[in-house]
Symmetry: C2
DNA sequence: ACCTTTAGTGACAGTATGTCAGAAAAGTCA
DNA sequence: TGACTTTTCTGACATACTGTCACTAAAGGT
């Protein structure tokens, strides 16, 4: 019996230490995992609560103890990748160091994380239009970048690095471009090469925001 | 009887001239109209065959004589606006006259047509991810612009008007930007002003494709 | 006016959703 | 450990919408 109680003790300690993966959390994770696996190889439109839960071994109705519906699941999956995306874009956002170099860094990181989490981003973007709430969350997520990018543009305009123009519409346009390109490229399979994606958006960002540097780079190429 | 046969004759001639609005076509049109009306004020996710047909006065099952499903309807609605969009973009596509001026024309026209048909474009883009076929059609539609834009870019590069870069990824990026911006701006309500939309995408297109002209324009502004 | 062809209807089966009362398992404490 | 409370899970149900099919009604031709 000492063995049993020892192992119980151990389990409890571990549970407490890891902030109690309280069965509920475990199941929730299992569902999230199954969701990610499914969306890695299938479009969102083919996901049903039934097939999803069949994979986990739980009953269909167990799903509703952890999520309101499939869109709630998508929201949770989005939360898992949000930070990664925001993190990668920091170099240029913070505004220190060479603007062109940091922008290149940030865009490269963005493409990497897009490549990594393409299927989830694609799935969220696919699922969003069929649900009020998820649509709002998704738009808010994309919109949050608009603010940051517009602010950074304005700074660079004040520093004379970037031509004068209304920052918000341009920020918005550039961000929509990123989203559209990334989701299409890496959403289903890995159809397009990272290089093509990066070269496309990099060119546009650089020539829009730093045309003077870009121009000199171009002049060199033309000779 | 002479009157009757005369009026019959007249009707038949008119019918023949207008290519026979053969009842079927009439009903089809009525459904399409009802669809457009609905989507002008509601998102696609709230459209059901039942509510749609209630408006037309026909039974729900009549719908299926004219369309396979709601996605079929969307495909038909897209066809109605396709031409308008392609038409508006012609000035720059054909490649005659001042590139900057014609690009400005084309983008202005694009924004206009986006403003006009925003709700349909939004609806199609919303509906696409939930249907294999519509998704394909929509992607093909967007993709068709990639080809044309890439070709035009290549011409301008050969003429020395546009810096050297791989045209396809950039064309793709610019087009996704347009689609994303237009649909968001005019898809639901007319939330954003035409001016903002146009200024945003115009700035990006011009500085990417014609940085030399853009640079001089900017220099002027800075003085 | 008659007959053929085309359009429209109501009833039906199918599929997925979300809820709820009750069963089962996990957690708690003497 | 055993009795308890609380949390998690299950099967059965009601609901909503879809797409089809045999049948009726209307349109179109002669």
């Amino acid at each position: 019996m000492s063995e049993k109680s020892k192992s119980n003790l151990l389990r409890d300690q571990l549970a407490a230490r890891a902030s109690a993966p309280s069965k509920a959390a475990q199941t929730r994770s299992a569902i999230l995992d199954a969701g990610r696996d499914f969306l890695d190889t299938n479009p969102f439109r083919n996901l049903t609560v039934g097939t999803l839960m069949a994979v986990t071994g739980y009953s269909r109705s167990a799903f509703y103890q952890h999520f309101n519906d499939l869109h709630g699941l998508m929201e949770a999956l989005l939360d898992q990748v949000k930070d990664g995306i925001v993190q990668g874009a920091q170099p240029w956002f913070v505004g220190e160091g060479d603007p062109v170099a940091t922008l290149q860094e940030s865009l490269t990181a963005l493409v990497d994380v897009g490549y990594e989490h393409g299927s989830i981003l694609r799935a969220v973007s696919d699922a969003a239009p069929s649900d009020d709430r998820l649509e709002y969350v998704w738009q808010a997520f994309l919109g949050s970048f608009d603010e940051i990018v517009a602010a950074r543009i304005q700074e660079d305009q004040e520093r004379g690095l970037t031509p004068e123009f209304d920052p918000m519409p341009v920020a918005h346009a550039l961000n929509r471009m990123d989203a559209g390109v990334l989701i299409q490229a890496f959403g289903t399979g890995k159809t397009t090469s990272k290089e093509d994606v990066l070269s496309g958006i990099m060119r546009v960002w650089l020539s829009t925001l730093y045309p003077f540097d870009a121009a000199s780079a171009i002049q060199q190429k033309q000779e």
